[in-house]
């Protein structure tokens, strides 16, 4: 993973609550066996009309949303399935950060593992961001704050290990593999609950 330290962009807003992973990438596209090229399918059934043309009502099709790398989304973004295709599609589409008052657990995990900043802010700050689409923000991962155009700051929490991995581009599998000795030792013990033989 490439290190992610700072993201600077205007925001685009998708205010709907509970935007689920089927809306981010419909299930019928999950027959792919790679991670690449999913951006064109991102928000597919919302973004395109039946004839394949852009849906003018989809907020991210508006000219002012073009090039925005920060998405401010309604509460409980990413709920639903565990498909990592959702963050893959968003990243390939050009989204590098999602700001929300609440983000679904599995999606958030998957996002951070791919360098997509999934950041939770307070309900009041979230509301303010929803009401101000298109503002320029700077997200500072090291300092854990979002800088507003007027110099104000929104502070956010990030799980320390996820932050460390983002800042240093840490390969989490590599990190896990370093624990080989502990894992091998653990495997020497019998299973805790299922007994292989009579006690």
């Amino acid at each position: 993973m490439k290190p992610v330290t700072r993201i600077h962009s205007r925001t685009a807003v998708l205010a709907d609550e509970n935007i689920d992973t089927d809306r981010i990438i419909p299930a019928r596209f999950l027959t792919t066996t790679t991670r690449d090229g999913l951006g064109k399918l991102c928000f597919h059934d919302w973004r395109y009309l039946a004839d394949g043309c852009d849906n003018p009502d989809f907020p991210l099709n508006q000219p002012q949303a073009s090039g925005c790398a920060i998405l401010v989304a309604g509460r409980n973004f990413g709920c639903g399935s565990s498909r990592e295709h959702a963050p893959w599609a968003l990243l390939d589409f050009g989204i590098q950060a999602v700001l929300c008052s609440e983000i679904a657990d599995i999606f958030r995990n998957n996002a951070l593992k791919n360098g997509l900043l999934a950041i939770m802010v307070s309900a009041a700050e979230h509301q303010w961001l929803l009401e101000h689409p298109g503002i320029e923000l700077s997200i500072d991962v090291r300092g854990q704050f979002i800088e507003l155009p007027d110099g104000g700051r929104i502070v956010f929490q990030l799980e320390p290990f996820a932050r460390h991995c983002l800042l240093n581009g840490v390969d989490q599998l590599g990190y896990l593999l370093q624990h080989e000795t502990a894992i091998a030792q653990y495997e020497q013990q019998p299973d805790h609950f299922t007994q292989e033989q009579a006690a």
Partner: protein, 470 residues
């Protein structure tokens, strides 16, 4: 040691490296379930790094999501929806051969939806940690296992190390007191629970379902409840194992046998929350108040008793949801015309679910213009159902009896509804487009789905069950 919840007991036993302020725990995984959709990129990762799959003996792999539910043609060709789906299935077959995983594939008498076959084979056992690149892994919590969905990067982590990096989640106790009324089942209960606590009511938490109404549930019903924990935002939901659990597991192929069985049951009995254990949150639900419940919107939290008026939209997205569903505020869902009925999925495609539907359908015909699909959860369910003649009840009623798979639950194998069609479905997600672009999904129990097929409208199954009883 201080009092612990069931979740904490299972968690503690699987910690390989304890968590610190800076680093998450390294948590050992006992059982890794694998299917064709979320594994290809993980196998590629192993290959690129020159890594082995650490414990092929702890992997249970099957084909379910992209697989056709119609039989192969006379030329032996299976009717895949497209070449990509076919390639995805072939790739899992090849990956399993390369990495030494026993695949429950096309030739297996055990193939089926991953969350149906794990328990069936006795691979799912109390106290285990179980993961899968699939959010409905929570199903296995019904056995007192800590089971949750992971993304594909983590699938790769488990393949390479049999471990995951995890922060300990919080705990939420859902006490279900009282007794479910006659004709009201586990699906109604879990829809009612999600309708009460909301689609994000369990975010960050592991749910423990407890109380008299939970203890009274069969294993199949417990699986239905735990299955939908993720629809309340909880990655896992579990239920303490008891005599019902042990009786169900006993004798299954991968369960311990003989003396080891007795010894295991003795240990499993300790898998319950201590009397004075503390949960981070607690919720109480009255089982007696649950009615046949359905969804009216585009997420599982938009659920109400079918005879209750649809609530008015409180904001733009609720309005959008009602518009999409063509649900009318103030009117009940009961009576809404139905186009398609789907009985299947890891929520409700076990033998007891098919029996529940067949009891309503027996000797009756599906309403004109309604298409009904019945898709068993596994080859074993299919065999058992056919032995009982359930398939004949379905086909005589005018329904299609299919081969096992996820089918219209996720609609990626070609089984899907047309734009605008209303589907009464026993699956778990009513998201926009989940069952086909523009399709409108109403989640319901197998009995409600069957009754709705007969009436051609969303109908209360108790009307049909009473007639049978009389």
């Amino acid at each position: 040691m201080s009092a612990r919840t069931l979740f904490e007991k299972v968690w503690d036993a699987h910690v390989v490296v304890a968590e610190t302020g800076d680093t998450p725990a390294v948590l050992y995984v006992d059982l890794h379930l694998v299917h064709e959709v979320t594994s290809p990129q993980a196998f590629s990762e192993l290959r690129q790094r020159g890594l082995q799959l650490r414990r092929p003996d702890r992997v249970l792999a099957t084909l379910d999501h992209s697989t056709p539910t119609l039989p192969a043609g006379s030329d032996g060709e299976r009717p895949y929806t497209n070449d990509e789906a076919k390639a995805q299935v072939s790739l899992l077959e090849a990956n399993c051969r390369e990495f030494g995983v026993a695949l429950h594939g096309w030739d297996s008498a055990d193939r089926g939806i991953v969350h149906v076959i794990g328990p069936e084979l006795g691979a799912t056992q109390p106290g285990m940690t179980i993961v899968c690149g699939d959010s409905h892994t929570s199903t296995h919590g019904a056995f007192g296992a800590l089971a949750f969905g992971i993304g594909t990067t983590e699938v790769g982590h488990v393949m390479a190390t049999q471990c995951l990096l995890q922060r300990k989640p919080k705990t939420l106790a859902i006490h279900v007191d009282g007794t479910l009324p006659v004709g009201v089942g586990a699906k109604d209960l879990i829809l009612h629970i999600i309708g009460t606590i909301g689609v994000d009511g369990g975010t960050g938490h592991v749910i423990e379902y407890r109380g008299a109404a939970i203890e009274a549930l069969s294993m199949e019903e417990r699986m239905t409840v735990c299955n939908m924990s993720i629809e309340a935002g909880a990655r896992a939901g579990l239920i303490a194992p008891d005599e019902t659990t042990f009786a169900w597991l006993k004798g299954r192929p991968q369960a311990p046998q003989g003396k080891a069985w007795e010894a295991s049951v003795n240990v499993w009995r300790s898998l319950r929350s201590d009397a004075d254990a503390r949960f981070d949150r607690e919720v109480r639900i009255d089982a007696g108040a649950v009615k046949p419940t359905v969804t009216y919107g585009t997420h599982p939290g938009m659920a109400i008793a079918m005879d209750a008026p649809v609530p008015a939209a409180r904001n733009a997205q609720e309005r959008r949801a009602l518009d999409y569903m063509q649900s009318e505020a103030g009117k009940p869902m009961q009576g809404t015309p139905v186009d398609v009925v789907f009985i299947g999925s890891c929520t409700n495609a076990r033998l007891s679910d098919l029996r529940e539907a067949a009891n309503v359908l027996r000797g009756r015909r599906v309403a004109a213009g309604v298409r009904m699909l019945v898709v068993p959860g596994s080859e074993a369910v299919r065999r058992d159902a056919e032995r009982e003649g359930l398939h004949e009840v379905f086909t005589a009623a005018g329904a299609e009896w299919r081969m096992p798979g996820c089918s219209m639950c996720i609609a990626m194998n070609g089984d899907m509804a047309q734009p605008g069609q209303l589907v009464v479905s026993t699956s778990n997600r009513n998201f926009e487009g989940r069952q086909g672009k523009g399709a409108r999904t109403v989640l319901a129990s197998p009995a409600t789905a069957a009754a709705s097929a007969l009436a051609g409208r969303i109908a209360d199954p108790r009307e049909y069950l009473v007639e049978v009883a009389a």
